[in-house]
């Protein structure tokens, strides 16, 4: 029997039955021991575990009996980030988690078709009330959906996701798989092996996934991130699962939005990392039995036995862009439908020195190579004249390092001198939350200390600079504005900020 995941805001009341049963299921999981494969902490550690932080927040103590080494090797620290496996791995994770919760719900006398709600933060900006209160609806004070270490975008415990700061632009990405060479990272990410923290985050992963993690979790200091801000604690927060259900929904929205939106057909993706000699995706199901799955098995919701109540898609950002460049709406729509990932990526320019993000803002300038800039201008002129697909332009924040995953900042381009950037949303290149940066900055670990790289689509900004001829100045001025001032001890640095164009 297919189950339907519903928007948490549309369930009818703050403590509607699906949420109440979710809370009861979470409570049952939380009561289980650390070494119980279906326990709350075991499940969170599947996503990732950093013992010092777990101890600091009271989720791990010397009295806990750890799972066997074999279980830890098999199940823990599996989450896939910076990878084309990001979406399918998390879909499997949600399916297994939902099965474990449902099993607990049924054992408590609840409905056997219980489904995990999703948190649609594109329509309402607050935290669902059941997660914001320390009390159950009857006023008793051990609501398992509430966590202390959820500090919100301003670090004051007021948790919300500003509607103006999340978007679904990733749904306009023509291809699932992107490139790690400066161009689009694709809707679903770049090709990797088993990547428990890859270097380049895909479009849907950067926004809204990372950003919502960073805003919800927030942090009090670099050493005190909110649970949601760090991949090694995120699974401990019950809101994590509703956030990921929304990301999972967006994958299906993207697939249904265009016949050209298809999952990768490469064997490495379909068969997963086990097919290249790496760790398989493996999770415990109710009773503790292992379930091994592949990305290819995660593609079709119908065969997986669940669906979503809302798969409507926003208008294509590419259509708006083509109209801006002077292409008619009919032609623009037709072009958007047939557009595929462009083949050639080239560097347009870069800043000269790495920058340290500390305090309330950081600035740098990017010089553009005259020859490459001319090629771009020629292409944009051609696009308006012949209805050809225009080049796309991407801002790359390369080798972003630091120790504070709770750092989140907006990136603006060419904000007029002395003006408040918040008053210039047209100049917003994107929003970046450094989900995973601590691990990525550790030299002797899986990342080799290279940090993370974020790729932001700035085609719209470049179009306007092109149309106003401001691009001929040959420089872009980049302004980084953190949500909250960044402490110097967070050690946030950006190796290089560069601009790439991607063309056919």
């Amino acid at each position: 029997m297919a189950s339907t995941r519903r928007n948490v805001w549309a369930l009818g009341s703050d403590w509607a039955d699906p949420i109440l049963w979710y809370a009861r299921g979470v409570k049952a999981m939380k009561a289980r021991a650390l070494n119980d494969r279906t326990g709350w902490r075991f499940y969170a550690a599947i996503h990732g575990i950093f013992p010092p932080l777990w101890q600091q927040y009271g989720y791990l103590s010397s009295t806990d009996t750890p799972p066997s080494q074999a279980d830890r090797n098999t199940y823990w620290n599996q989450c896939q980030h910076g990878s084309w496996y990001f979406l399918p791995w998390h879909r499997g994770y949600l399916i297994a988690f939902e099965a474990v919760i449902r099993d607990a719900v049924v054992a408590l006398g609840g409905p056997n078709d219980w489904a995990l709600p999703y948190w649609n933060y594109f329509k309402q900006d607050g935290l669902p009330p059941a997660f914001a209160s320390a009390n159950w609806p009857d006023g008793t004070g051990d609501n398992p959906l509430f966590v202390e270490q959820r500090y919100g975008p301003n670090g004051d415990g007021n948790v919300f996701v500003p509607l103006s700061e999340v978007n679904m632009n990733a749904l306009g990405e023509p291809d699932f798989e992107g490139v790690a060479s400066g161009g689009s990272p694709g809707f679903g990410g770049v090709g990797t092996g088993f990547a428990h923290g890859g270097r380049v985050h895909g479009a849907i992963e950067t926004q809204p996934h990372d950003w919502v993690h960073g805003l919800v979790g927030g942090g009090l200091s670099p050493q005190e991130p909110g649970l949601m801000s760090d991949p090694d604690t995120a699974g401990l927060d019950p809101i994590f699962w509703l956030h990921h259900a929304n990301i999972d929904r967006l994958w299906e929205v993207w697939r249904q939005n265009s016949a050209a939106h298809v999952d990768p057909s490469k064997a490495n993706w379909i068969n997963g990392p086990a097919s290249i000699g790496e760790h398989a995706f493996i999770l415990p199901m109710p009773g503790g039995q292992s379930w091994t799955y592949t990305p290819g098995e995660m593609s079709n919701l119908a065969t997986l036995g669940y669906n979503y109540d809302d798969l409507s898609a926003p208008p294509s950002p590419l259509v708006a862009r083509l109209e801006r460049l002077g292409v008619g709406i009919t032609e623009a729509t037709a072009i958007a439908r047939r557009t595929a990932m462009a083949k050639t990526v080239e560097l347009l320019g870069a800043n000269t020195e790495s920058i340290r993000l500390s305090g309330a803002e950081a600035r740098t300038s990017i010089a553009l190579d005259p020859a490459a800039r001319n090629r771009l201008s020629t292409n944009l002129n051609e696009a308006a004249r012949t209805s050809a697909v225009p080049d796309r332009v991407f801002l790359n924040l390369e080798n972003v390092r630091g120790i504070s995953d709770a750092t989140a900042f907006n990136v603006y381009i060419n904000v007029p001198e002395g003006e408040n950037p918040a008053n210039h949303p047209d100049h917003l290149a994107g929003s970046v939350a450094l989900f995973g940066v601590r691990k990525a900055s550790t030299a002797d670990d899986k990342h080799a200390g290279d940090g993370l790289t974020y790729v932001l689509d700035i085609s719209g900004i470049i179009d306007r600079l092109h149309l106003s001829r401001a691009i001929e100045a040959g420089q872009l001025h980049v302004l980084l504005v953190p949500r909250n001032p960044v402490a110097d001890e967070a050690q946030i640095s950006i190796g290089r900020i560069s601009v790439f164009r991607q063309s056919n």
Binding site: G182, S275, H279, A280, A367, D369, A443, H447, A448
Partner: protein
């Protein structure tokens, strides 16, 4: 972009193949003077002098460079691609060349040291098997050490590169130097093996290259005393072979 990647990979393969052919058909082993290696009491400095009379420094240098040209293209394909992708189109060839020069310079200096060690060992003992056994022991010890992992981790590094002018040149060259240093650190002990392998020199080089390439397929990892080697490569081969026989079974069985 994909065409460019294929072209780029093709050039590396061709370079490596040509060097291997030259090595296979034109290589002459280093000649150790019979007098020195017979165990007579000849001072080591005299032995070196005689060895260099029979093996000119130029001959040694060319042999070493040929060896690098054969063995290193698979190892530098990924960092070279990084240099190419992160450089302006009109600077790509220059940046890649500077990377190779930096990388080659480090290996050339290392080569002098390794060749001197090999020559000294061969001059000090008439038993070639002794040198091979000692170098194999050193390679094994280094292979399991945290220091080797430290070097391998740095082989995975992809730094930011300046885009314009002299800083861009310096960045590409420096990346070549640092990558070369990490590579020497990871492989110096393995590279001793061919120098003691006598007639099996070229075959040993081939084995070392495949081993070094295969171990780079593993991700960076925490430092520890443990065996490290071509495990992932072997798993890929095994999985791919079995997938052709039983496509679904292998995916389900493969977990650690």
């Amino acid at each position: 972009m994909w065409c460019a990647t294929r072209r780029f990979s093709g050039w590396l393969v061709v370079t490596s193949l040509v060097a291997w052919l030259l090595l296979a058909f034109c290589w002459n082993d280093v000649t150790i003077p019979a007098l020195c290696s017979a165990g007579l009491r000849t001072p080591l400095s005299d032995s070196f002098s005689m060895a260099f009379v029979l093996n000119s420094p130029m001959q040694l240098a060319w042999g070493w460079l040929l060896m690098l040209a054969a063995m290193t293209p698979p190892l530098i394909a990924a960092p070279l691609r990084h240099v190419r992708e992160r450089s302006l189109a009109n600077r790509r060839a220059r940046a890649m060349s500077l990377f190779v020069i930096g990388y080659g310079a480090v290996w050339t200096i290392a080569g002098v040291g390794l060749q001197l060690v090999a020559l000294a060992a061969q001059l000090a003992s008439s038993d070639a098997r002794m040198g091979l056994a000692l170098s194999a022991s050193a390679a094994t010890l280094w292979q399991v050490s945290p220091a080797k992992q430290w070097c391998l981790n740095r082989c995975h590094r992809r730094p930011q590169l300046a885009a314009f002018g002299a800083p861009a040149d310096r960045a590409a060259f420096d990346f070549g130097l640092t990558h070369g240093a990490a590579c020497v650190g990871a492989c110096w002990a393995l590279m001793l093996l061919p120098l003691f392998a006598g007639q099996a020199h070229v075959l040993t080089m081939l084995a070392v290259m495949l081993f070094a390439f295969a171990e780079r397929l593993e991700n960076a990892a925490p430092l520890a005393w443990r065996w490290r080697g071509p495990g992932k490569a072997l798993r890929i081969i095994a999985v791919q072979a079995r997938m052709h026989l039983a496509p679904r079974a292998i995916i389900r069985e493969s977990s650690h």
